[in-house]
Subunit: 472 residues, 2 copies
């Protein structure tokens, strides 16, 4: 396997080998040997390892960002070299803080009964499989799942995403050096690049792997979920979401164009390849909704074709566009794949509420890339009905004027059960790293609405087990 | 369906009807109508409902305990009328406390970013299916799952256990009266008695049911887990566990008989029908292990045959005994089913470490009833190896003298990954209701090691969703 530059379509860089089943099982076996070491280590030692990771990565910031840019075509600055790089480092610092203050353990004591409950490591490795769209901050070997797994003192076995193997190798060089310098066992953090799907499932089934952290497509996520469910192993799965924006009739009438501008900008961010992309905007009031659609079409028409992360990303987007056209939805702009590399026009569809209901599996399906749908509904009541029929989402936004108070309340009353994060006015792209964040949501946006993938110490709970010491 | 007195085998009391699929789906639909009411109610109103439940139940304590005794043959006093009754009431009071202090929400705030994260209701009912062995404190309509679901402001749809429908009806009479008096919607708490298995799965799949709380057999639990997993709905499953006791060589030598007495008493408690029954005791040192086995056999031989909860419970026990005899394990006492009703001898098997490994699926399988296995191992090292090969357990005990310090440490170092609750010296029966309790454990003892079924507010987390208000 070689990396491909999405801007040109050309392969470059080192050749990465596929690991055999025996190699993967050896990693899982080795991880078992690191379990007790990590569980018993002084928190300061593991925290110091993470601090050193940050220092080493920061010393190679320009180089890492440059490779990531070549592999993903994501903007070098500020996106990769500042925003995402800083996020990666901040998450490591937060994990180090957890290891120092032990806040992730959520200790409860009962002196009268001589009980102590706490969260504890799982007893095996976390298999961390990161996505294509965050080569640094969600990388299996440096991202949120890595940090949460280490914070809860579990070994990590990371699988590199095929979209950015050179970035991953470069990051892992620093992580492994920090690991060795801190005296952590080599099996505390391990990495592989590629495997046959059936060998990946064998790795998951190995007793050395205790849990899965996955961010990616719904199809892959559901297959991995089924495997974990059958094994009784916890899985943290972030899959797909269209993060709908609801615009109440009053706000739509007074600020159709401003809302369209905010939505279009959020939609286009990172080539439309955020898991929090607001793929759908539902606007109450036929005329004002058309104003939103017209303005958004203007903005999208003016945008340069986006360079998508991989050929598969673009193919998925092209299939989504073709399916919507085939269903007779009105395409307001865009629609074409472009070269060189994996480019695609910013593309807008407009659907009535009835069309959106009839083709809900198309309109509400996530597709990475600069694709958005304006859903035109007649009234605030129809807005609420649309919300009520939603499946689980990562996030959802309500845009409302003071005159829309009843609609705003009715929307939040429904959406609180539908999404992990609710926003007023603000678009959902941009997820703050904070203990008060929830990056999660009901199935099928994620595998389990009870958890968050962002924000320590809560995110560490995904990779821990409850343990009570009873008169010990 | 009618109740059966396990002491006589005779049916008695009211006839309970099987609910149709349409009736079950109507309950789920009705529950949806109660979701927003419960989410928005003042905490004091729902807490007051629980306080009133306690008052009404307490006023009928003798009557409820008497019916439960007739249906389950569990001892009237102190077991049912005091210990379990008080536990039921305590859990309701703890849930009321949660509703008043909102501790279950685990609120996290970030003023700088205007974020608030909290746990929130799920948006649908919790289907609560209780076990045979705790007709009050784990009843679907009054037990731990009921309390946790209501604490997190979810409607409850309870299924009565066929082993104690009259008890459940009598309890539900009080719960429903309190519900109506407090002005809660009727669909806040609903009950049905029986259904076809496929209709139960249809109920689970209905959008009005958001989660499952189940305590019962591994076979039923795994079938329900598969259904919930496919639907992406959270399931809290407490299944089966043998809760092994490990006796280090020093302690075995100095106090074989005392250890045997403590173990036998715990084993026989409630007819051996606790999910925390220590079904297996592993003793280091061949001669001393034989002393433990001999003394336990004496105690069990002297015990009256236990009356088991249902005919199916006894049949399951008889099959376990027959399988162990068929495998050639040495039966030290007991072995026979008795009348009238569903009685069975207290029964002891003795196995070597090698036999236990060869027949681990028999020795480590939970069987309700007065059945225990002494596993005789050669050394403390073999004790640790036995622990390392365990599947998930609810609880595990280490018995060790000061001279056994190394073995004690080595055992806990392994067992912390194997069980939800670790005990020193104490037998695992007797689970204190405390925020510092963990009644849980790795699969397949439960469905998910990250949760506890006992101890609010943590137990409410099972039936809640993470929610962030982002600049709202």
């Amino acid at each position: 396997m070689k990396a491909i530059n999405p801007a040109t379509g050309e392969a470059f860089g080192a050749e990465f080998a596929r690991s055999s089943r025996a190699e993967l099982e050896a990693m899982a076996e080795a991880a078992l040997g690191a379990v007790e070491w990590l569980a018993d280590a002084r928190g300061e030692v593991v925290a110091g390892f993470l601090d050193d990771c940050v220092a080493r990565l920061d010393g190679d910031r320009a180089g890492i960002a440059q490779v990531a840019h070549e592999e993903t075509a994501l903007p070098l600055s500020p996106r990769l070299s500042e925003v995402e790089f800083n996020r990666m480092c901040l998450q490591m610092r937060e994990a180090a803080k957890c290891l120092r203050d032990e806040s992730w353990r959520e200790v409860a004591r009962d002196a009268a009964n001589n009980l102590r409950a706490e969260l504890a490591p799982l007893g095996g490795a976390v298999l961390a499989i990161g996505p294509s769209n965050f080569p640094l901050a969600f990388n299996g070997v440096s991202g949120g799942d890595f940090c949460a797994a280490i914070a809860a003192r579990n070994p990590v076995i990371a699988k590199a995403h095929p979209g950015h193997p050179n970035t991953t190798a470069r990051i892992f060089g620093h992580i492994a050096a920090a690991r060795d310098a801190a005296g952590l066992p080599a099996a505390a953090v391990q990495l592989f690049y590629d495997c046959a799907p059936e060998d990946g499932l064998a790795l998951l089934a190995h007793r050395g792997v205790a849990a899965l952290g996955f961010t990616g497509s719904r199809a892959s996520g559901l297959a991995l979920k089924a495997a974990c469910d059958a094994l009784g192993k916890p899985a943290s799965l972030e899959m797909a979401s269209v993060n709908p924006v609801f615009v109440a009739s009053g706000a739509a009438a007074t600020r159709a164009e401003a809302v369209a501008d905010a939505w279009s900008a959020s939609l286009l961010l990172g080539g439309g390849q955020f898991c929090t992309k607001p793929g759908v905007i539902v606007v109450a009031g036929r005329e004002t909704a058309e104003r939103v659609a017209n303005r958004a079409a203007e903005v999208l028409r003016a945008a340069a074709p986006a360079v998508l992360l991989t050929e598969a990303t673009r193919a998925h987007l092209s299939r989504a566009v073709a399916a919507m056209r085939g269903a007779g939805l009105r395409m307001a702009c865009g629609g074409e794949a472009r070269g060189p590399g994996f480019r695609h026009d910013a593309t807008l569809f407009v659907a009535s509420g009835a069309e959106a209901r009839r083709h809900r599996e198309l309109v509400l399906a996530e597709a990475f890339g600069p694709l958005g749908v304006v859903v035109v509904v007649e009234s605030d009541a129809e807005l609420v009905e649309f919300a009520r029929a939603l499946d689980g989402q990562l996030a959802s936004t309500v845009v409302a004027d003071p005159s829309d108070d009843a609609a705003r309340r009715a929307l939040f009353a429904v959406l609180r059960f539908k999404a992990g994060r609710l926003l007023a006015e603000a678009m959902p792209t941009g997820v703050v790293v904070s203990p008060a964040m929830v990056h999660g949501g009901p199935f099928p946006a994620t595998g389990d609405a009870r958890f968050t993938a962002v924000g320590l110490p809560a995110a560490a709970r995904r990779f821990s087990k409850a343990l009570c010491w009873d008169r010990v």
